[in-house]
Amino acid sequence: MLELLFLLPMIAGLAALFLPANFGRGLLIVAALFHFQLSIMAWMDKLPIYTADYFAKTPAGMLVLLVTSFIFLCISFYAVSYIRESKVENESVFVGCMLLFLGTMSMVTIADHPIVLWIAIEATTLVSAPLIFLHRSKEALEATWKYVLICSVGIALALLGCFFITLSVDIAEIDVPLTFSSLNLVAAQLDPLWLKVGFIFIIIGFGTKMGLAPMHTWLPDAHSEAPSPASALLSGALLNCAFLGVYRAHTLMHLAGLGDFSSNLLIGFGLLSMFVAGIFILRQADYKRMLAYSSIENMGIIAFGVGIGGFALYGAILHMIHHSLIKSSLFLSAGNILLGFQTKLVTELGCLVKYFPKTFFSFFAGFIGISGLPPFGIFISELFILIGAFQSGHPVFAMLFMFALLLVVAGAAQIVTDISFSENETSAIRGEESLLRTVPPYVLLLASIILCIWMPTEMYDTILNTIKTLGGTIHG
């Protein structure tokens, strides 16, 4: 049954909370493997749904699910090694929350009822908060507080948005089950005003979680203070889930004939996020924060692409997948750097290429990937978004988009070259580069390369199905 996707990791997570630490590590990997298998099965239509009122299998959700599951699998291996080396006190809490986190995220991907979706997204906030607080430093405490408070406030607004959408159903006096899939069918009859208001609150609400500016403020703090495996999950998987919420609402708006309104909002927030990210990536002193801002930028790109629609929509979906893979790889590499040098400040480290060549390789390759260069997939997705922007008659937006991209690349390139090559006197604490910590980033990057060269037909069809509802196309 499809519900197993979230039940299994949740049960495993609850169990891990009470099991001795040593069991937890094994459980983490086993659960991750099982979950990946379940995701594959879900893709192969082997899992029937029992609670169709609340859950459904949608192409967009399936994509996010697969990516999440794959990333989690890679991270789980990394996490085991990470726990061992960074002396986590509360190991069972860590493992348990990781699994619960996976469970809630899986729940997001298959949720069909707006409020269930809301519950799941709010739940991700709550179960990931302990992850951020894992190292119990003052900074971590502050980051957690901001994360929980701002995300909760934001998401509360999304709940309001869900109520407004319900109201629009009521006013139109239609009697359908309150699920996205059934609402989509009657979208044209819904009350447009309340739908718009609802969308506004949903994009602000889920946008907070997704990291759209100006609601992004928690993100750099949380992503940089969290332990690296958790950062990787936050950036690579959680943001997508929040995006899924916005995406669902946008689909509804599109079908209701209000696509222009929601598109403009998405474009606006997308560009704003990209610029805000650009401001802070330039001359950023902390490389994990740099990565966090880069996530904001990429979420902006995705929002922009979805807003543009058409050809760019295909690009945006591709971008979501590749960004998850590459960004989580980057955060894992950043974790390796942190373990090796014990500092997050760019000025205090250097010559990564000499001290940790393997980490350097994955980190630099990730940077190349995130900057939109081949052979990584972001190259193609950004190209398509750009083309889409021109095609849909938004040359000004396209120019702004290009400018923002450049701004971010300029900032990131500076930091990455500094970390990788600049000579540094304060010599490093030479940790070992353990295999378990270096391989997962490679695997993630490799996945992006492979997807850029060869995409499985099933995935291609799913992407096409995803964008079809929004009028996306890949034929100009």
């Binding site: 269930v116 709550l126 003052k138 405490l141 929980v148 408070l149």
Partner: protein
């Protein structure tokens, strides 16, 4: 005969004004308990909800339990542990806050009026209260320094949203399982906030959010 419904709403508005004016954290928590209780009562008093099944009754009991007892209780415990009694030096002073509260109420009435929306049964008063509650929640969060006041602000926001939900939507959509999930999230949320607050107090000997100012660019 007094419209029971309106009376409850007036009480809610009163609690809002009280919490804006109060500097004692303990009385704030008590206020929240009253507000939670009243908010939970509203759906029962609405006419169109008259035909509530047994599932519904149980749900409302649980709701009152969580909103009026468990959450304030949690806050109370947290407050006892951190042994801080009053909010000193808020960002916006108490008299100003009270005044702001009145302005918020006026604005809410104005917005409700302006929207001239087809709220079912003409429950404008309910909508006004809801908007006021939400706005006041935001106001509390922005104008106070203590972490616990911000949690209370968040709860107030949540109460307001809940009022909107009950005020505006038809009951037929309300599936208790779903709403129960929302409540559960709220509860766990407050619990986690309480734990973090405890840790903040532990780390800084205070729960002043001004101290939480290290992470910035």
């Amino acid at each position: 005969m007094i419209n029971l419904n309106d009376a409850v709403l007036v009480i809610i508005l009163l609690t809002i004004l009280l919490s804006l004016a109060s500097n004692r954290l303990l009385s704030l928590v008590k206020n929240m308990a009253i507000q939670g209780f009243m908010v939970s009562l509203i759906p029962l008093l609405l006419e169109r909800h008259s035909s509530i099944g047994s599932g519904g009754l149980i749900f409302f009991q649980v709701m009152i339990l969580i909103k009026a007892v468990l959450i304030p209780g949690l806050l109370y415990v947290a407050l006892k542990r951190i042994s801080i009694k009053r909010e000193i030096e808020p960002i916006v002073g108490y008299h100003a806050s009270l005044f702001a509260g009145l302005v918020i109420i006026l604005l809410s009435i104005f917005i409700t009026d302006k929207l001239h929306l087809s709220v079912p049964d003409g429950n404008e008063m309910l909508l006004t209260t809801a908007i006021t509650t939400m706005s006041a929640g935001f106001f509390l969060m922005m104008s106070r320094r203590k972490a616990i006041t911000q949690v209370i602000g968040y709860l107030m926001l949540e109460n307001g949203i809940y009022l909107v939900g009950t005020a505006l939507t038809k009951h037929s959509h309300t599936i208790y399982v779903v709403e129960f999930g929302v409540l559960l999230d709220l509860l766990v949320g407050v619990m986690i906030m309480g734990i973090i607050m405890h840790n903040i107090n532990h780390a800084y000997d205070d729960i002043d959010t001004d101290r939480l100012n290290r992470l910035k660019d």
